[in-house]
């Protein structure tokens, strides 16, 4: 079964809620190795997205995601703004004109989005960033498409991969972003960006769990 436009909107609604609920948690993670603003920044951006939801309801998935990206770009600030802005704009570009998505569409969108983040932030796996959660999820999604898994199964596996990727950032020494200033002292803390990226894919898996 395909993911409908309305389900994409439900995913966004749910993620707005997840960010709001996890604002303090993300800020706490960022206090340890960054500058204590990731939670508040993401929440400010996604509250701005919430305000735009009514204007998106009759649009195609591509337009919806591009609108989300542009909104984040002008409201989040920090590194999160350009990175999450780019993520949604690239995903939206890949899904231009679509009213529903197959697992292959979703995999291609997440891959394009992740590549956009890599180009903007110039990070690789192991640098202790969002990429540590996103790249393994992309690999798993592409594999799920090859194996012809159901949408819900593919998403569940991608969320698990993102979760493992997120947890893999704990022992890492940061090589990008503000955490890199700490050198060895950044080890032992989970990366806030990898955490918000895991939550994004995890929310998709939960909201779209009934797609067989």
């Amino acid at each position: 079964m395909a993911i409908t436009r309305d389900e994409v909107l439900s995913w966004l609604q749910a993620y707005i809620q997840v960010i709001s609920e996890n604002m303090e948690y993300l800020t706490e993670l960022d206090s340890a190795i960054g500058d204590a603003d990731h939670g508040a920044n993401m929440n400010r951006g996604f509250q701005a997205v919430l305000a735009k939801m009514p204007s998106m309801e009759d649009k195609d998935v591509g337009t919806i995601l591009k609108t989300v990206g542009m909104t984040l770009l002008s409201t989040v600030g920090g590194a999160g703004g350009p990175l999450y802005g780019t993520f949604f704009i690239q995903a939206g570009t890949k899904l231009a004109g679509k009213m529903e998505l197959t697992l292959a569409d979703w995999a291609a969108a997440v891959e394009a989005a992740t590549n956009g983040v890599i180009n903007r932030g110039k990070a690789s796996v192991g640098d202790k960033t969002m990429i540590d959660a996103l790249t393994p999820a992309v690999e798993v999604l592409n594999e799920a498409v090859r194996q012809d898994l159901s949408v819900s199964e593919g998403l569940k596996k991608s969320a698990e991969a993102a979760e493992n990727g997120m947890k893999s950032t704990i022992p890492l020494v940061a090589r990008k972003g503000r955490a890199s200033y700490l050198g060895e002292r950044s080890a032992g803390h989970q990366d806030p960006g990898a955490t918000s990226s895991f939550l994004l894919l995890d929310t998709a898996a939960k909201v779209w769990a009934n797609n067989l």
Binding site: S31, D37, R44, T75, G77, G81, G177, S180, G183
Partner: protein, 333 residues
């Protein structure tokens, strides 16, 4: 959290409203997107200078907008880079036909947002150059970090480059001057206390009563080493030595010595540091030809100080002495 604010969400907007009321003769404030702009912008035929960064470092950058310094500044949320839409609108507002220089401090977010803004401005036909300030010797500069942070030197650069633009130098000349300044200035800071981001509600890091953090940034990022607190003279030595060794500053060099307060440290202490810093500079054969002392690039209410030294020459001395009229720095007018 104990702060003289109303609501965390309103901090930046209400500060801008205060700035607008207080300095209407120097700046205008634009809201949504937020930027502070010189009252007579765009100045025809002059290179426009734009900087910006997170709020919480006042008077930088909004307090440095005015004749002889910046044409506009984009304030982000507290300790958060501003966004490309702000920078684009500010760039357009100050383009007097001679191009616009973006002065960017080396932080991942600032770099990415300014890059996106420069792309958008170029697409609209505005000539934009960007210079990155990365003067903090506390951070190891290597391929494996985001590179050195932009700290105290930013203040000096904005003043010097502002004077050069006011003189009518071209975009390329002004950008080259900014890069030269970045190449011959170094900084290092320390903190006695942490600071609290209004949204976070509690200190960014814990610093026990009897300890200090050496190599602190301006966002409450923990520094590189923590130790028992020492007398001011020893702390000054710990900041000056890496600065002198890094460039390196050599006997006979003329320097501008800048002792900056982090927000919570009074001038009485900054002068104690300045006195020792001059002594150390002179011991190394350096001649302090210009100085700046005070809270110019702060980190909310953090107690602590940073030292910046810039190697000077006749041109830089002339630019430093040139008139400037901003909320945060004013002389010769």
């Amino acid at each position: 959290m104990k702060k003289l604010i109303n609501k965390p969400d309103e901090v930046v907007k209400e500060e801008l409203q205060g700035v607008e009321l207080a300095h209407a003769d120097i700046v205008k404030v634009h809201y949504d997107p937020n930027y502070v702009v010189r009252v007579d912008a765009p100045v025809k035929g002059k290179v426009g200078l734009l900087s910006g960064g997170g709020s919480g470092h006042e008077p930088m950058h909004g307090g440095f907008v005015g004749m002889g310094m910046l044409d506009a500044a984009c304030p982000g949320a507290v300790f958060t880079s501003p966004t490309p839409d702000q920078m684009l609108e500010a760039t357009k507002a100050i383009d007097g036909g001679a191009g616009v220089l973006h002065i960017v401090k080396n932080y991942t977010g600032d770099i990415m947002n300014f890059e996106m803004a420069a792309d958008l401005a170029k697409a609209e036909g505005i000539e934009v150059e960007a210079v990155v300030v990365d003067d903090d010797v506390a951070v190891k500069d290597s391929l494996y970090t985001a590179g050195r942070r932009g700290v105290g030197l930013t203040v000096l650069m904005e003043k010097l480059v502002g004077a050069a633009a006011e003189e009518g130098r071209s975009l390329k000349e002004v950008a080259d001057l900014a890069r030269k300044i970045n190449g011959q200035g170094r900084s290092m800071g320390m903190a006695l206390t942490s600071c609290t981001v209004p949204h976070a509600g509690k200190p960014t890091f814990d610093l026990p009563e009897d300890e200090m953090e050496i190599g602190i940034g301006i966002h409450g990022e923990p520094g590189r080493t923590r130790m028992k607190i020492k007398p001011a003279d020893e702390v000054t030595e710990m900041l000056m030595t890496p600065i002198i060794e890094d460039l390196p500053f050599k006997s006979g060099d003329q320097v501008l010595l800048f002792v900056n307060g982090m927000g919570g440290t009074p001038l009485i202490e900054l002068y104690i540091v300045y006195r020792k810093a001059v002594e150390i500079a002179e011991k190394h054969g350096l001649k302090v030809v210009r100085k700046l002392i005070g809270p110019y690039i702060t980190s909310l209410e953090m107690a602590g100080a940073s030292i910046t030294m810039l190697k000077m020459d006749d041109d830089l001395i002339k630019l430093w002495d040139a008139p400037v009229k901003t909320a945060g720095m004013r002389w010769g007018v």
